[in-house]
């Protein structure tokens, strides 16, 4: 009986050992497989980290010795393979990589400036005895190049192609990283005199410029010259923006200023006060002064004084459907001439209301003396209707009446087609 018990125990032990043997084998194999999986996981993590780093154009995530990728903390950001790098790599950031010259890669193209073209096609029917315009004309094609130059400056160039020639409308460098909040511009630019003088044609709410611009401030080109500009936000009571601009130019601006000697520079100063009246309404006021020599020679000065006021209304919840801009500019001109000084005054007042997402209606009243003969006073008015097929094109009609000092009237129906291609940057407010 004891022998039987011993035999039974031995049999049980043997069977247990026999069963245990393959189990150990399986466990070992499982363990080996687990290790293999872990190694593969590490490899995948490493590859993912490298891919993510490549996608973001930054160095790869650090990898621990032994080939095991660094374990991310529980809330570590997962890699974002579709993330789009939006900031161009600065020189020096790609240290360790072989430089590629010739600009054949897509990355090199990313550093090209934003390029845009804005076409301005004008038509006119009716008659204007003093200031006739062609029936049809490709009035202007503005080509813009805009880019950040380096960490300290950006550059903006706008070439105006007319039917007969090319003109550098503006081309300037803006230093954006100066101390004391100074913004300095150098190059050719529209002077900060009033409002209309600073605006390009395609952002005007009319097909033309007001009479006072033509009579006292140099017409379509306006005060636009090579020079230096310094702007700074000035101390002011809370919620009021006070901004001062001082500019010095060579002294050649259309028929307003003419430089006969190198020292005949022209000066422009502008003081701007701005305040939000409500969330939807704001008031923008400005005082301007310009001084330069006129075409009669170095001994003859022209001085301009300006006041401008603009009221904007745009309800934020329906900003794309309704808005109103009311604006007026008053300009005084004091021009030295042979034997006398002409003191002329001119103004315009306009209002533009957005009826719907695509429709705008507006009106403008004009009155101005002439700079070389203040007794000759022209006046007029316009009504304007604008339609936007999209934000990249617009169709505009304008009825313009003008009564000239000579006693003759102009009656015109003008129409305009404007269209934009490329990435034209935003304009200042």
């Amino acid at each position: 009986m004891r022998l039987l018990k011993v035999f039974a125990c031995l049999t049980l032990l043997a069977s247990t050992m026999l069963w245990a043997q393959p189990k150990d084998d399986i466990q070992e194999r499982l363990k080996a497989n687990e290790e293999r999986i872990k190694a593969l996981e590490s490899e995948i993590k490493e590859l993912k980290a490298t891919l993510a780093a490549v996608a973001r154009n930054v160095p790869a995530a650090p990898v621990l010795q032994g080939g095991e990728a660094q374990e991310p903390p529980p809330t570590q950001l997962p890699p974002t393979p579709q993330a789009v790098p939006t900031t161009p790599t600065l020189p020096g950031e790609s240290a360790g990589q072989i430089p590629v010259y010739g600009g054949s890669s897509a990355a090199a193209k990313a550093l090209n400036p934003d390029i845009s073209v804005i076409g301005d096609f004008l038509g006119s029917i009716g008659r204007n005895p003093l200031n006739p315009v062609p029936t049809l004309e490709m009035h202007e094609s503005e080509v813009g190049f805009q880019a950040i130059v380096d960490p300290y400056a950006r550059a903006d160039f706008f070439f105006s192609f007319g039917e007969e020639g090319v003109n550098l409308e503006e081309g300037f460098l803006t230093f954006t990283s100066l101390p004391a909040g100074l913004i300095v511009r150098a190059g050719k630019m529209r002077a900060a005199f009033g409002k209309v003088n600073t605006l390009h044609n395609h952002v005007l709410p009319w097909t033309d410029r007001p009479l006072v611009t033509g009579s006292l401030v140099g017409g379509e080109d306006g005060i636009n010259d090579a020079g230096l500009s310094v702007t700074r936000i000035l101390p002011a009571p809370r919620d009021i923006l006070l901004e001062g601009t001082m500019q010095v130019f060579r002294g050649d601006s259309a028929d307003v200023f003419k430089s006969s000697r190198n020292r005949d520079v022209s000066l422009v100063g502008h003081l701007r006060g701005y305040r939000d009246l409500t969330e939807s309404t704001n008031l923008d006021l400005g005082l301007s002064y310009a001084r330069g020599h006129n075409e009669l020679g170095s001994g003859f000065l022209t001085q301009l004084y300006g006041m401008d006021a603009t009221v904007h209304w745009k309800p934020l919840r329906r900003a794309i459907y309704h808005s109103f801009v009311g604006r007026t500019e008053l300009i005084w001109s004091q021009r030295q001439q042979t034997g006398n000084v002409q003191r002329a005054f001119g103004l315009y007042t306009s209002g533009d209301y957005q009826l719907a997402r695509r429709w705008f209606i507006g009106g403008r009243y004009d009155r101005s003396g002439r700079s070389n003969n203040a007794n000759l006073i022209d006046s007029g008015f316009s009504t304007i209707l604008t339609y936007w097929p999209s934000e990249f094109s617009q169709i505009r009609g304008q009825y313009r009446f003008a009564h000239y000092a000579e006693g003759r009237d102009g009656n015109e129906l003008r129409f305009q087609l404007q269209f934009s291609i490329g990435a034209h940057g935003a304009h200042p407010f």
Binding site: L77, T176, A319, S390, E391, G425, P428
Partner: protein
């Protein structure tokens, strides 16, 4: 002697005035230590606030009920930007029509593009609808770098918050632990909230919806909704009669019962479509602050999920 005393008194008086003025105008170092952050939109402000807590002062340029594509570059924003330590933008050209001139005019070197105080949040997020092939304006107002409404996905919210936390720690290393703790707290709360939102939306996965603008790809992907068409024929192009008729026909055929509209779009066309198809118009908020009660990132999803589930239940 009298003259000497007077001079002594004068120097003393100047010293007293100088010390008094310096005491009056100097604020405690801790109180002045708050980082000033300006964000393009309220959503970025909400996420920055989650991470920065009371160590930051944050202001948004656009309001939550405003179309972020068409913000006026008002000069009053310069008053905020000129003092900012950090500017957080949505990027992907969402603000291209208004923000660049403000940055240039601010006169603040810290927040210029590429400077340490300029943060483009899109680099942290999963971006959808990146166009492939030729991109032209014939496609409407497309964003060549991808859809910029990426914050409408909680996981992207977490990624953006992480990115902001790292940037804040870079600018203010002494508060690194504080920002890390705030982020971890936000992340934990977000995980709980995500489960709640997922549970609520689960019964409606696979539902078809129409949206006005392409504001919702991240949101609809997250919650398993199918956007089958848009009220706008193309991004940024107002609805045309022809497209509206096509839309009505399609909605009838495919039994689409919900139209999602952002709060800044006119409801006339969506309501007209809804009246002819038996659908519901749901004014869903794309941004924090779209309504008064939606004051943070969590409440934005609470609000939208509640509205959507109610609309889907009513459509059953």
């Amino acid at each position: 002697m009298i003259q000497q005393i007077s001079r002594f008194h004068l120097v003393f008086l100047i010293l007293v005035v100088a010390v008094t003025l310096s005491l009056l105008f100097s604020t405690p170092a801790q109180a002045a230590a708050k980082l000033k952050i300006v964000t393009a939109t309220t959503d970025m402000a909400a996420l920055a606030e989650e991470v920065g807590g009371d160590h930051i002062e944050v202001e948004s340029i656009a309001r939550g009920y405003q179309d972020p594509h068409y913000v006026e570059a008002k000069p009053s924003f310069l008053l905020k930007l000129r003092k900012a330590d950090l500017l957080i933008v949505v990027g992907l050209q969402l603000e291209i029509g208004w923000l660049p001139p403000l940055i240039t005019q601010s006169g603040n070197p810290r927040i210029q593009v590429g400077a340490p105080g300029y943060l483009d949040a899109s680099q942290f997020a999963e971006i959808l609808e990146i166009p492939t092939g030729t991109v032209t304006r014939a496609m409407g107002d497309v964003h060549p770098l991808g859809n910029p409404h990426y914050w409408l996905e909680p996981e992207n919210g977490r990624r953006i918050a992480r990115g902001i936390q790292q940037k804040l720690a870079e600018i203010r290393p002494e508060d690194k632990v504080f920002f890390e703790q705030r982020f971890q707290s936000f992340s934990r709360r977000l995980t709980v909230a995500e489960k709640n939102w997922d549970d609520q939306m689960k019964p409606f996965r696979g539902r078809n919806v129409i949206t006005y603008h392409r504001s919702w790809p991240n949101f609809t992907k997250r919650f398993g909704l199918n956007v089958v068409n848009y009220v706008e024929p193309r991004p940024g192009i107002p609805p045309s009669p022809g497209h509206t008729l096509d839309l009505i026909g399609m909605m009838r055929r495919e039994n689409v019962k919900v139209i999602l509209v952002e709060p800044y779009f006119d409801l006339k066309t969506p309501k007209s479509i809804a009246s002819q198809t038996g659908a519901q118009v749901v004014v869903l908020l794309p941004s924090v602050g779209g309504e008064k009660e939606v004051t943070d990132y969590f409440k934005l999803f609470d609000y939208d999920v509640a509205l959507l589930t109610k609309a889907f239940k009513a459509a059953q």
